[in-house]
């Protein structure tokens, strides 16, 4: 396989300049899991016929509680899980699920996981984490080119100067820095779409916005399409263009971010919003239970 098969960073840059959007589409995705308890076998419908499209340069938030199926969707989009039916389409064409086609798909669609403490290998240096995807997806590149791309990636995620981080190992970095490395690693193959599954929920609160802002900035610069999976309605609203609300494997409400949060239609969305902490309502709960007692 030669490097020319892959669109190089420059080539995709050109494509962006020409305004070629591209899209990542989930079409009628279904995922059933077989549950066994003793001799009984039952079906869990984790994801029920879900369709949506992530366009280049846009962020879609998938919100819902644990067990609602949002991570299963992420895993299907990342090809870590095969759908029971339905498919994933990239730029309108069915995506490959094995061999070269899968490799090509993976260079376009990458994932950022929730736990930066578990998703980086403690044995390897930061530069190794970034070199490897570059080498795998661009085998034609020379040593010097790989090294310069690694430095460029670290600078893009604001780990500067890059030389300070190259030889460090994950345990020497803070959670926020580690998540930045994880983002750099997702960008390394030249990905156009990022699936971020709760990318900041394990981080300290004061650095969460920094990491989200970085993702937003990278997205604008490179016209990435981002699927932001979260249970946090406030960041979903501010960080994305569109929100999909999931409940038990179904999308129960979807729409422009502000619309869904400020003018929810579905009863479940209202329940989620009602449950979110809101400092404006301080004392309200106390007064309510006091009246009830």
């Amino acid at each position: 396989m030669s490097a020319t098969i892959m669109p190089s960073a420059d080539a995709t840059g050109e494509a962006r300049a020409q305004g070629q959007g591209g899209s990542l589409e989930a079409r009628n995705l279904v995922k059933d899991f077989r549950l066994r308890s003793g001799l009984k076998v039952s079906m869990l419908h984790a994801v029920k016929d879900i369709s949506f499209t992530v366009e280049a340069g846009r962020t879609i938030a998938l919100v819902g509680e644990s067990g609602s199926g949002k991570s299963t969707i992420a895993r299907m989009l990342a090809k870590l899980e095969a759908p029971s039916s339905g498919g994933v389409f990239i730029d309108g064409a069915p995506s490959g699920s094995r061999g070269r086609a899968l490799e090509r798909y993976r260079s376009e669609v990458q994932m950022v996981f929730q736990d930066p403490f578990a998703s980086l290998n403690p044995f390897h240096s930061i530069s190794h984490h970034l070199e490897r995807p570059i080498r795998l997806h661009h085998p034609g590149l020379g040593r010097a080119e790989v090294a310069s791309r690694v430095e460029e990636l670290l600078e893009r995620v604001q780990l500067e100067p890059a030389t300070r981080y190259l030889e460090r190992r994950p345990h020497e970095l803070s959670g926020g820095q580690r998540q930045r490395v994880a983002i750099a690693r997702a960008l390394a193959p030249g990905a156009r779409f990022i699936i971020a599954d709760e990318p900041v929920s394990m981080l300290d609160v004061s650095i969460r916005l920094g990491v989200l802002n970085l993702l937003a900035e990278l997205q604008r610069e490179a016209q990435l399409g981002v699927l932001y999976i979260t249970h946090d309605l406030a960041t979903a609203r501010h960080f994305s263009d569109e929100i999909l609300v999931m409940y038990r494997g179904d999308i129960v409400e979807r729409g422009p971010a502000d619309e869904v949060i400020l003018n929810p239609q579905h009863e479940y969305t209202m329940r989620l919003l009602e449950a979110a902490a809101d400092p404006e309502r301080h004392g309200a709960l106390r007064d309510e239970v006091r009246r009830a007692e």
């Binding site: 609160v205 979110a276 301080h282």
Partner: protein, 293 residues
Amino acid sequence: MTAPEASARFGEPVLTARGVSIEYEVDPPVQAVRDVTLTLHRGEILGLAGESGCGKTTLAYGLNRLLKPPALQTSGEIVFHDRDGDDIDVVSLSDERLRAFRWSKVSMVFQGAMNSLNPVLNVRAQLDDVLRTHRPGMKKAERLARSRELLELVGVDPDRISSFPHELSGGMRQRVMIAMALALDPQVMIMDEPTTALDVVVQRGIIREIMRLRERLGFAVIFITHDLPLLIEISDRIAVMLRGEIVELGTAESVYRDPQHEYTKRLLSSFPSLRGDRGGFLRGTGANQEVAS
């Protein structure tokens, strides 16, 4: 309720800490808690906010004398003002008296409740254990009746008393933990991130339960979390911790409306507003940049 009303209602102190410092005796020593002075009033919810590593959990453990080496309280006094008028010097309690003091006067709900129940004992055995240890005079039937009553109090069907922890949902396990903490009718409950691992809707249910029980039973709560919006919503007063020190202490309203310390302001700004405007959040301005470029 306005601030003066609140202080009138929560006049009498139940727990006073003066100049408490706690050190981890490692090399080099770590000052985890520095000169903390804090008064908890009867029936009050005091929120303790701060990020990981700020010493909030260490302080909570110190208040209940649960510190284990290498953690050591190096200075300060902790006095518990009992309901019947006795003042108990917590720091100098002998082992035997400490055992009687803990849980019956001050109980704790620990972080990660998913894992703090014993997986091989059913709920009944674990509740029974608390009562048998601290109330040796109680008969078996009385203990069972009390255990069922406790479950009912926290909103768990008493018929689930024979369930094992793995048979309960996360929210139910947390409710069982609260039932255990309530078993001896404590005057203070220290809750360390009691709802962090739970889904928002479940979390809201637990919070409501805690508020309701406080109204009914009149215990005071030290509620520890990094979730400042939640604290503002439910607390009477809030203490903000940074690097082992309390940098700001005030009513929930004043901390929210008029934060004094830089760090409090930063923490507050780390939580984008759910329903309010976009504020300084970068993505809002980013859209304009995109148009401009």
